[in-house]
């Protein structure tokens, strides 16, 4: 299974619709401090079902909606879309391409989408069960967090291994 592209719109600093078509191998994202690179990582975590605002560096979930710049007003919705190459049928969907999406409105309302169909968050998360991809687990290593893999606190260290098993 390969991730074909990531698309952000209204998510954090991505006020414009921006798409990253990914290589099947290694895609590198570069740029100056504060330009939005880590926000892309947050976007992928979020669309895969991350529910803890803290894990996205915010205090509340609505913190992920673009909330304005010196020239632009805040937006009302954050949206992230992921499209996967599913020719190997790793995902339990009988289609070569699978699109997942998530939206959050200022009102607090949320939408979760699989191939354009509205689903529950539960369905979106279950889609990836067993693939190893998801907000927990080892798909993500956040900025500054690599050291926590060697957590000295015995409980935290056990957590590292329990997520693996």
């Amino acid at each position: 299974m390969k991730l074909k592209f990531i698309e952000l719109f209204g998510f954090k600093s991505f006020a414009e619709r921006v798409r990253f078509d990914l290589d099947r191998g290694v895609t590198a994202i570069v740029g100056p401090n504060g330009c939005g690179k880590s926000n892309v990582v947050d976007a992928v975590k979020w669309v895969l079902g991350e529910q803890r605002a803290r894990s996205l560096r915010g205090n509340e979930m609505t913190d992920v909606i673009f909330n304005g710049s010196e020239r632009r007003p805040p937006m009302d919705m954050a949206e992230v879309k992921l499209v996967f190459d599913n020719t190997e049928r790793v995902l339990p969907v009988d289609r070569d391409e699978v699109a997942i999406g998530r939206r959050l409105f200022r009102s607090g309302e949320s939408e979760y989408l699989i191939d354009g169909q509205n689903v529950r968050l539960k369905d979106l998360r279950e889609l990836f069960m067993g693939t190893g991809l998801g907000p927990g687990g080892y798909s993500f290593m956040e900025q500054g967090k690599i050291d926590s893999v060697l957590a000295s606190n015995p409980t935290d260290r056990r957590k590292v291994f329990e997520e693996a098993a």
């Binding site: 991730l3 191998g25 590198a28 798909s139 050291d147 926590s148 056990r158 693996a164």
Partner: protein, 165 residues
């Protein structure tokens, strides 16, 4: 279950020892259950001995050595439980040039089963990427993507002349 945990633990341990030696160009490392009679509750000990050095507490390792050891463990877990996509945000921040190079070579061994998205400021990591994107904030507070060629990137990741994207 206990059996599953022990099987996974042993596989992770095996991979950890091999990957550590590859990243450090020698030396040895291990993970051990403190209380093997009680695997689901036991603490876990991590030892790491870089080549030419004596074994000592991992707290005494340097910043770069800790990153390499953590990456060894992270990738050992990924090898035991492959995830299709892996997003790494500036994991090479503490690494010098040689260690960054070894880290990039490690990625090559995982490319069969895992797709990588790397956020980095390191030119060496950028040079190894198959595809390179820049994120910029031409309009302050608003992120945009630019396609970037390796030649457009200055030292430490600033984008010198974004081509017309």
């Amino acid at each position: 279950s206990t059996k599953l945990f022990i099987e996974t633990f042993d596989r992770v341990r095996d991979h950890f020892q091999g990957i550590f030696r590859k990243l450090f160009g020698g030396g040895r490392a291990d993970i051990v259950l403190v209380d093997p009679e009680n695997p689901l509750e036991s603490g876990i000990e991590i030892t790491a001995k870089p080549p030419g050095k004596e074994a000592r507490s991992i707290t005494l390792l340097s910043g770069g050595e800790r990153t390499l050891t953590a990456v060894s463990l992270l990738f050992a877990i990924i090898r035991a439980h492959p995830c299709p996509c892996c997003l790494l945000d500036e994991v090479d921040a503490a690494l010098d040039e040689d260690n960054t190079e070894r880290f990039c070579m490690l990625l090559d061994e995982f490319l069969g089963r895992t797709q990588f998205v790397l956020i980095t400021h390191s030119r060496r990591t950028m040079a190894r990427a198959d595809l390179l994107y820049g994120v910029t904030m031409g309009e302050r507070g608003v992120s945009r993507r630019v396609g970037v060629r390796f030649e457009d990137v200055g030292e430490n990741g600033e984008i010198k002349e974004p081509p017309t994207a």
